[in-house]
Amino acid sequence: MDSLLQIKDLRVYFHTDHGLVKAVDGISYELREGEALGIVGESGCGKSVGAMSILRLIPTPPGEIVSGAIIFKGKDILKTTEDEIRNIRGNSIAMVFQEPMTSLNPVLTIGYQICEAIALHQNMTKTEARQETLKLLKMVGISDAERRINDYPHQFSGGMRQRVMIAMALSCNPKLIIADEPTTAVDVTIQAQLLEIIKELTTRLKTSVIIITHNLGVVARYVNRMVVMYAGRIVESGTAHDVYSKPSHPYTVGLLASVPRLDKPRDSRLIPIDGQPPNLANLPPGCAFYPRCSFRMDKCSKERPELRPVEVGHFTACFADLNTYGK
């Protein structure tokens, strides 16, 4: 498989009143064609900022893409002109945002909003665009599409709105869909529906997809590879199988241990990760996870661990070898 997207040493900094916040501090990863990648991390770890940078959607100021390269189909997105990036947005790379109510325009019908994207990027007449929109709405499972195409966003439930967003994202046959916490604002049953739709459609249309989430459980079923982020850096990456079965960074280990699992017998105690999430404006000099880590060594407080391979295609940014601890 060919590489579709390559991110190389991306750094995105924000200049705030509290000082320089390194929201994304040197991340690199690669996405192949037709692949599903999960980016996992808690709020403030830089997962959304990293993804927004791909479409150059970082508000400047206060944000700034300081360095790095984002190679999409052989071309560096960071070096394109404003016109070129406009052409990429929505056309080759589409985004599904977390909160469907705030990302849809409340005063336009959903039909109009989807047609707009199609008409803009695909040179279709109004009637053709409308036909195409109907097809898309049916594809994402909106019943009675002929009638609902004229409805406004407030007439839809949260799950339906998110389906409209997915339809909109698919409208121009993009090569890549970035779904930023697509299921956080909806219920479990709807969450399952939406992810099935994304999975099914992306497989059928051979679209690559990046799913950003804070919930390790959500992506297990749907992604091929995973990237775990903490405090603006990648702490672990690998195939979903490797990351879940042989987690090699104490943070990943902690995340997996701290959530109760329905398929396992109920434990009497949960094992939380101690301490608080880091303050990005004031990070410790060594490893950012050092204050919360249960495997910490003296070395970790002074020196920052770089990503190193644990096995083929599986990387961790930790000095400790967790597998020798019997993990």
Binding site: Q193, H241, L270, P277
Partner: protein, 325 residues
């Protein structure tokens, strides 16, 4: 035998009227947020209440704490019906019940210091003042794992998890017997959630607390609850002891909910069958006749479309509201 029931909810309904018209305002319908619910909670027990958003679980929690007065029905707290109480009696009775809210950002007054937030219930309900307040606040801070040195800070200086601890300290201030935990962890980071769950469990065994734990995350509810009730569109569809519910769920909605819970393991997920519910929950304004789940139910038969099932016992303390169970 001593009566062990702390909270007894009998046939409680909470309807919110919808009005139409600007000049001649008239009622056109009711939203049946909670519809004829029976539920009881024993002393020292944690009852988990799960359901999708809009199923009425928060409304029920608020009725029980009398933050809302139900349209009809009775709620007994320690054997006394609190719905018909006079204001002053209710205020006294309320010392026994507290609530922890979902969003630790909205539920703390940004202009009050942590000390003021935590001691406010003491000022309202007790005669403790001055040094007594300070020593109680120090005690409460330690109890929930906060540094008493942070007492004079304001909510924005705390992180999400710390703020939720403040909310818990406030709820504990007047030694309640019963606490409604309304989605206490869903606004928190995954790495912090387990800390709060453990804290709630420790406090329960220390003070013999009774919890109504409202949540939509079924794996967390299994962890913390002794009994679990599942709500759908204002009605309880299934209640059972924790292990019975998770092993022998009988209502098709419960079964679907359980199968939708993601498991953080690609191996398990690869072989797991999932029941994907079709569509969204219907609007509570115009509920379908018959069982309110029938439009999404895969087992739906004729009787389900005509007649609403009643909650009935099918096993030891296992109640289901389904014709087919």
């Amino acid at each position: 035998m001593e009566n062990n029931v702390l909270i007894d909810v009998k046939n409680v309904s909470m309807y919110f009227p919808i009005f139409k018209g600007l000049i001649r305002k008239h009622k056109i319908a009711d939203i049946k947020a909670v519809d004829r619910v029976d539920l009881s909670i024993d002393r020292g027990e944690t009852l988990g209440l799960v359901g999708e958003s809009g199923s009425g679980k928060t409304t029920l929690g608020r009725c029980i704490t009398q933050l809302l007065t139900p349209t009809s029905g009775e709620i007994f707290f320690e054997g006394v019906d609190i719905c018909k109480m006079k204001k002053e009696d209710l205020r006294l009775r309320r010392q026994g019940m507290q609530i922890i809210f979902q969003d630790p950002f909205d539920s703390l007054n940004p202009r009050m210091s942590a000390f003021k937030i935590v001691t406010e219930p003491l000022i309202v309900h007790t005669t403790t003042r001055g040094q007594g307040l300070v020593s109680r606040a120090v005690e409460l801070f330690r109890l929930v794992g906060l540094d008493p040195g942070m007492m004079n800070r304001y909510p924005h200086e705390f992180s999400g998890g710390q703020r939720q601890r403040l909310g818990i300290a406030r709820a504990l201030a007047i030694n309640p017997k019963f606490i409604v935990c309304d989605e206490p962890i869903s606004a928190l980071d995954v790495s912090i959630q387990a800390q709060i769950i453990n804290l709630l469990e420790d406090l329960q065994s220390k003070f013999d607390l009774t919890y109504l734990f409202i949540a939509h995350d079924l794996s967390v509810v299994r962890h913390i609850s002794h009994r679990v009730a599942v709500m759908y569109l204002g009605r309880i569809v299934e209640v059972a002891n924790r292990d019975d519910l998770y092993k022998f769920a009988r209502h098709p909605y419960t079964v679907a909910l359980l199968s939708a819970v993601p498991i953080p393991d690609p191996e398990v997920e690869a072989t797991r069958e999932r029941i994907i519910l079709k569509g969204d929950p219907p609007s509570p304004i115009n509920m379908p006749p018959g069982c309110n789940f029938h439009k999404r139910c895969s087992l739906c038969t004729d009787i389900c479309r005509k007649e609403a099932p009643r909650l009935r016992e099918i096993g030891h303390k296992h109640l289901v509201s389904c014709h087919l169970a």
